[in-house]
């Protein structure tokens, strides 16, 4: 064991003390946040929208919910015969220490029919990337982990759009274990704008296919850390004059998340209003008719999920109810997180052992062609010291 326990243990104690102190502070802050949120819900929507408008292009928080704050958000009835599709992905990142340069994206999906004793259909797509143009951007820079994540996220939406349309006349619900916004686009440094645009187009086209199939679509985020609604709550507290003069101050409910707010506010099974999102990335989605909205859902097992939906779901009461009720039903047996996504993850995940097996196959294939596969010196020494299974 390489961790120095005498150094580490006091720090662990400090961590627990810090969390304990923070929790006490947050309880006080949370009461204030709840009070402010309730005050915001009593504001005329037009006034709230005016504040957002004054915040201008700098505003990146939640937008006022088009449905308002008055509509009851109790668990709706589940539509009969729902077909749920879930997709997830896994990957092996490029590693310059392996014998051959490659990376891998593994995508899986499952489609199940509620209350039918029929084995769900499963789908897997495994892609190995090894050509020079796949390993490097147009600029010549090697692709990094963020690029692989972007490909994975686009492929997940892609397989979902292929799987979910075959629902006949039965209502469909398509779920992703992810935000619907393609955040990886912001992190894929080195990729040219053309490449990014191409991936974004593929992604948006997939969303359009899901819409055309009549399916509802939602992205699920477990244990969300965002504070978009708290930011809107604070914005609602500010006088318009100060917004014009001083700009947007930092969030005063620092350290709190929307999750904590709605855990206190939402009864089990209920959802929050469906908010819009003023993210710069959402503008690209809006241009394609896929502006992303979100709500929080208190699942039956006492967890808060952030659920993201495209505008065409947010603006349709039947589709929004289908998402709400469908997620609750999916989470009934699993502690709150949708069963379809748990299984999609299980089907997609690439373990360390499988990764090593793939490296062995590649080494053998190279040797059969008379090539001498050689891992890097660093990689080889890790096998000697037993550090090849380390976290870094």
């Amino acid at each position: 064991m390489s961790l120095d326990l005498p150094q580490l243990l006091p720090q662990v104690q400090q961590l627990s003390q810090s969390l304990s102190d923070r929790q006490a502070q947050q309880l006080t802050l949370l009461d204030e946040a709840i009070h402010s949120y309730e005050a915001m819900t009593n504001l005329p929507l037009a006034e709230l929208e005016e504040r957002v408008s004054l915040a201008g292009s700098r505003w990146a928080g939640a937008l006022a919910p088009a449905e308002g704050f008055d509509r009851p958000c109790a668990p709706p009835d589940l539509v009969a015969g729902l077909i749920v599709s879930g997709a997830d992905g896994s990957q092996i990142y490029p590693d310059r220490h392996t014998a051959a340069a490659f990376y891998l994206v593994n995508i899986a999906a499952i489609r199940l029919q509620h209350d039918e004793p029929v084995a769900p259909e499963t789908f897997t797509k495994t892609d190995l990337y090894f050509e020079d143009e796949q390993l490097h951007h147009d600029s010549g820079q090697p692709v990094g982990n963020a690029w692989v994540n972007l490909q994975r996220d686009v492929a997940e939406m892609g397989i979902l759009s292929e799987v979910c349309p075959n629902v006949g006349d039965r209502p469909g619900l398509a779920l992703l274990d992810n935000s619907l916004l393609l955040w990886m686009m912001l992190q894929a440094h080195g990729a040219g704008e053309k490449s990014l645009d191409r991936y974004l187009k593929n992604y948006l086209d997939s969303m359009a296919r899901i819409r055309a199939a009549g399916c509802a679509l939602a992205g699920i985020i477990d244990r969300p850390g965002s504070h978009n609604v708290l930011a809107l709550t604070q914005l609602a507290m500010l006088p318009c004059t100060s917004l014009e003069a001083d700009g947007i101050p930092p969030v005063v409910f620092g350290g709190l998340s929307d999750r904590q707010l709605f855990f206190r506010l939402l009864p089990v099974g209920h959802r929050s209003p469906c908010f819009g999102l003023a993210s710069p990335l959402n503008r690209d989605f809006q241009a394609a008719g896929q502006a992303i909205h979100f709500f929080y859902l208190h699942t039956t097992q006492g967890q808060i999920l952030r659920v993201e939906v495209p505008g065409w779901v947010a603006e349709s009461e039947p589709l929004l109810d289908r998402v709400h009720a469908g997620i609750l039903r999916e989470g009934r047996t699993t502690g709150g997180f949708p069963y379809a996504l748990i299984r999609a993850h299980e089907l997609a995940v690439v373990t360390h052992a499988e990764g090593r097996m793939l490296e062995d196959w590649i080494a053998r294939a190279l040797a059969e062609r008379g090539l001498k596969p050689e891992a890097s010196q660093k990689s080889w020494t890790k096998t000697l010291t037993g550090a090849s299974g380390s976290l870094s």
Partner: protein
């Protein structure tokens, strides 16, 4: 009898005395306790013959959690039973082998290959292999298997391969063979013959 043209699984581990295989459940159903199977060895020159003595389905934390629920949705139950089930593992006790068209009782020169397909024995092969009942001693002496039940099960399985009029004769002959081997253990002999009894009626 089961469809023997499709493999029931593939060898995952093996030794001279036993071999195990894994199979995903399918329309063929699970292989049966006491069924005879074969897998190739020595570059296909030899078929190792075994009798299935154990069928195992391992659980996992997710399956255990689902099992505790009162009202498991129908689609999740179907998913667990048909998609998600970990490969069924079966273990076979080696009884003999087929080489150059002749059946032999006893241990083969080499075990089967890893990942060799495992097939249920065809009716014709069962009839030929069962003519020499010395494999019964191997089952009686094997460790780590339910010998009495296994012996009764394999004999019933073999008897079913015979034409209806010859089944009783086969079982009576098998009973006499077992009686010779267990002359010094009458309680065990009685137990086995009693288990065989329904096959004789």
């Amino acid at each position: 009898m089961s469809d023997v043209s499709e493999p029931i699984g593939r060898v995952t581990r093996c030794s001279t005395q036993t071999f195990s295989g894994a199979v995903r459940t399918s329309s063929l159903g699970l292989p049966a306790f006491g069924a005879c199977c074969q897998a190739e060895a020595e570059d296909g020159r030899v078929q190792v013959i075994g009798v299935i003595h154990d069928i195992r389905i391992e659980d996992d934390p997710f399956a255990r959690q689902m099992a505790t629920l009162d009202d498991l949705p129908a689609e999740q139950l179907a998913d667990a039973q048909r998609n998600r089930q970990a490969p069924v593992e079966f273990s076979a006790l080696t009884l003999g082998y087929l080489e150059a068209g002749h059946f032999f009782s006893g241990l083969p020169p080499q075990p089967p290959f890893t990942l060799a397909p495992v097939y249920l024995m065809e009716q014709e092969a069962l009839l030929k292999f069962s003519r020499d009942l010395s494999f019964t001693r191997q089952i009686l002496n094997a460790e780590g298997v339910p010998g009495n039940e296994l012996l009764a099960a394999v004999l019933k399985h073999m008897a079913a391969a015979y034409p209806a009029g010859e089944r009783e004769r086969f079982l009576l002959q098998a009973g006499r063979t077992i009686a010779r081997f267990l002359a010094g253990d009458l309680p065990r002999l009685e137990t086995i013959l009693h288990t065989l009894q329904p096959g004789l009626s």
